[in-house]
C-alpha cells in the first residue's frame, strides 16, 4: 500500500515511541526530559533515515541516536545520569509501591553503562547482537556487561540507600561510570 512520507513517519512514531520513551525516561530519570529527547530523536532519525542499513536494526539505530541526542542537545541530562539524583528518580509514576520503588531507585544508583544495557535488555528484550549494535560495543562485552549490571542492580536493591550526596557530596560520581560519548 502506498504511504505518504508523513504517514510513514507517523507509523514510525507509533511503532517505536513506547520503546524510546521508556528508555529515555529510565536513562534520564525525568519524564519531561525524556519527552524532549524522544521528540528530538524522531526528528533527527527521520532526517537521516537513509543511513539505516538494515530495517531489522531500526531500534538499536534509534537508541544510538537517542543516546547521542541526550548528550548533544540536553547536556543537563548527562548530569542526571551521573548523579543519580534521587528526587528526580522519584518521578516514576508508581513509586509508591515498595518493590517497584526499590527497582527504580536501584536502577538510578547503578552506573549508567550498566543502566543502558539493562534498559535495552529489560524493556525491549533485545537480542545480544542488537544491544551490541545499539551501544556500539562487541557482543561479548554485552554479555559480560549485562552480568555485571544485573549484579549491580541486585546489590543496589539489597544494600541500604547511601546517597552519595548525603555521604560525601564531592565523591558523588566517584563510583559511577559516565556514559561515554561515541
Amino acid at each position: 500500500m502506498f504511504l505518504t512520507s508523513e504517514a510513514r513517519y507517523n507509523q514510525w512514531v507509533r511503532d517505536h515511541y513506547r520503546f524510546l520513551m521508556r528508555s529515555a525516561w529510565a536513562l534520564t530519570g525525568s519524564r519531561a526530559v525524556a519527552e524532549d529527547v524522544v521528540q528530538d530523536c524522531f526528528t533527527n532519525a527521520w532526517k537521516c533515515r537513509d543511513q539505516l542499513r538494515d530495517a531489522l536494526l531500526v531500534r538499536p539505530w534509534l537508541f544510538q541516536i537517542m543516546r547521542r541526542s541526550i548528550f548533544r542537545h540536553l547536556p543537563p541530562c548527562s548530569q542526571l545520569l551521573e548523579e543519580g539524583d534521587e528526587d528526580r528518580w522519584g518521578e516514576a509514576p508508581d513509586a509508591g509501591i515498595d518493590n517497584r520503588l526499590d527497582v527504580v531507585k536501584a536502577l538510578s544508583r547503578i552506573a549508567p553503562i550498566h543502566r543502558e544495557v539493562l534498559v535495552l535488555y529489560y524493556f525491549d528484550d533485545m537480542p545480544t547482537a542488537q544491544i551490541a549494535e545499539a551501544l556500539e560495543i562487541a557482543p561479548g562485552t554485552v554479555l559480560s556487561r549485562l552480568a555485571r549490571a544485573r549484579e549491580a542492580l541486585k546489590n543496589a536493591m539489597t544494600t541500604p540507600d547511601q546517597s552519595p550526596k548525603a555521604a560525601n557530596p564531592k565523591s558523588g560520581s566517584h563510583n559511577v561510570t559516565s556514559i561515554k560519548k561515541n
Binding site: E6, N10, W25, E35, K154
Partner: protein, 190 residues
C-alpha cells in the same frame, strides 16, 4: 542450575516491575505530523500547475480565431507554394467585391475556387510590392463573420467587409501586407 533459575526469576521480576514503573502510554499528538492540505507540496504544485494551465488555455482561447478563419489559415498553409490561375479573373473579382473589368490587384500568384469546411470559397493569393504576399478568401454563400483581426499559427489574419458588403478573410505572414490588402479590398476607391 539453581543460580541460573534465580537469575531468570530476578530478570522476570525486574522486567515486570520496570515495565509497570515506566509506562509511557501512547505517543502524544504533538509527535505526529499532520500537515494541512494547503501546505502539502503536491497540493501547492498542483495548484500552480492548474493556474499555469488555465492561464495558457485562457490565453489560447482568447486569441483563437473563428472556425472558418482557422480553416482558411490551414488551407492557406497547404497551398502556400501553389501557383496558377484556375478560374476567370472577372469571376473572382466579382466575388471579391471589385469591378470585374479592372485588373486583379497586385501580382496574382494563385486564383482558384476551393472548399473550406464544406463551403465554396474563392482563393486569391497575390503579391503587393509594398507589403508582401497576401491570401484573400471570399465565400460563395453568405457567412457571418464580424470584422476582427489577430495572429494564429504563425500568420496574421483579418476579417474585412468587402466593397459590396460581404466578409473577406485576409491572411498574410506580414502585418504590413494585411494593411495594404485592407486598403485595396475594403475601403471604397478614392
Amino acid at each position: 542450575m539453581s543460580h541460573r533459575n534465580t537469575e531468570d526469576e530476578f530478570d522476570l521480576c525486574a522486567r515486570a516491575e520496570l515495565s509497570l514503573a515506566y509506562e509511557p502510554g501512547e505517543a502524544p499528538a504533538k509527535l505526529f505530523r499532520n500537515t494541512p492540505w494547503l501546505s502539502r507540496r503536491w497540493v501547492q504544485t498542483s495548484c500552480v500547475l492548474a493556474l499555469v494551465a488555465s492561464t495558457v488555455l485562457g490565453g489560447v482561447l482568447a486569441v483563437r480565431p473563428p472556425e472558418l478563419v482557422r480553416g482558411a489559415i490551414e488551407h492557406e498553409y497547404y497551398e502556400r507554394t501553389l501557383r496558377g490561375s484556375f478560374m476567370e479573373a472577372s469571376t473572382l473579382l466579382s466575388h471579391l467585391g471589385l469591378e470585374s473589368s479592372r485588373p486583379v490587384p497586385g501580382y496574382p500568384q494563385l486564383m482558384r475556387p476551393c472548399d473550406i469546411d464544406g463551403k465554396l470559397a474563392y482563393h486569391l493569393t497575390t503579391f503587393f510590392e509594398k507589403g508582401g504576399i497576401v491570401t484573400v478568401f471570399a465565400f460563395d454563400k453568405p457567412i457571418s463573420l464580424k470584422e476582427e483581426q489577430g495572429w494564429w499559427n504563425d500568420v496574421y489574419w483579418q476579417v474585412v467587409t468587402s466593397r459590396d458588403g460581404r466578409p473577406l478573410v485576409l491572411i498574410s505572414e506580414k502585418k504590413k501586407a494585411l494593411a495594404v490588402a485592407y486598403r485595396v479590398f475594403s475601403l471604397p476607391p478614392a
